[in-house]
Symmetry: C2
DNA sequence: TTTATTTCTATGTATATACATATATACAAA
DNA sequence: TTTGTATATATGTATATACATAGAAATAAA
């Protein structure tokens, strides 16, 4: 029961497959963002907050600098600083001035943050099942083509 | 010279292709957004403003209500109203109370708006060439898989 | 006709992004 | 040491989103 993009956005056919692809990728990205944001909202997190929290867990028990977080964020963050603010307010992370470099900060995930991520993990497989409308092989092909699509232009990041 | 997503975001391999796909779609969507926003910025437009302007042109010379704009927008707009504001300020569109239904507004693209879109159109083919790193056939396949991926879940919009 | 409900749009709030700039600290050059 | 420059982070502004709500007008129900 596939719905073609042309139908969904009530637009005339695209002039070529590239033109459609540009819109399709923007559209599908926004769609995915909406779904995942809705899911995370039930845990009191925004998508960027969730991503930063996972980066912090990846380093735990070592601290992260803001620069390290920026480096690892999916969506380039001109404001990792403010996202960390929110996590600190919710007591999901702690921030302290770095001893070795007083310009930098040490950000560490708290027990509360680790517990929250563990809770989300527990439900992950179940949540992901909604995307099994395509086969594993097709998902792999899709990944491959998306990687290739970005390939020659990754320097744009 | 393809760059795998695992490398770009410096992360361990994903547990399954679906998990990678979710991240890949978010990532590629954000990437595309950045590129297209940068392009439109040179014309003084944001991406949502551009999309609304094209919707207005699609109806020209007939007016659009805010509801019609919302209906046709790619990224669901809880605030088409404020995007139209910006277009009106730039004199790219006009807004008047609808005669037949005084709750509604008639939004119409101006000559200046039409000229701006025509200018962008002129450069479109040239701009699109940066995405020809994949073949037309691959682009078609990618479109097909993205459509299929969203297929069973389009009711989420 | 009066009242209740729905519809259309606008607006307030919280969060996020991009971009520019400010501030403190570290480091290098003189 | 003093000066200059680079680095790490924070913050201000404009724009955007999601969500909730407000206000006016249209429509339905009584």
């Amino acid at each position: 029961m596939t719905v073609r993009l042309e139908d969904e956005i009530k637009q005339k056919a695209f002039r070529n497959p590239y033109q459609k692809l540009i819109v399709n990728i923007l559209y599908t990205g926004g769609w995915m963002n909406l779904i995942q944001s809705g899911h995370l909202k039930s845990f009191g997190l925004s998508l960027p907050q969730y991503n930063v929290l996972r980066i912090l867990r990846g380093q735990y028990p070592n601290p992260c600098s803001i620069n390290l977080i920026i480096d690892r964020m999916l969506d380039k963050a001109s404001n990792a600083s403010r996202i960390v603010d929110k996590l600190v307010i919710k007591k999901l992370a702690e921030r302290n001035t770095c001893e070795k470099d007083r310009r930098a900060v040490d950000v560490v995930i708290t027990k509360k943050g680790l517990d929250l991520l563990a809770d989300i993990d527990k439900r992950q497989d179940n949540w992901e099942e909604q995307f099994h409308g395509i086969t594993g092989k097709q998902a792999e092909k899709l990944n491959e083509l998306l990687d290739k699509f970005r390939g020659n232009d990754f320097y744009n990041f």
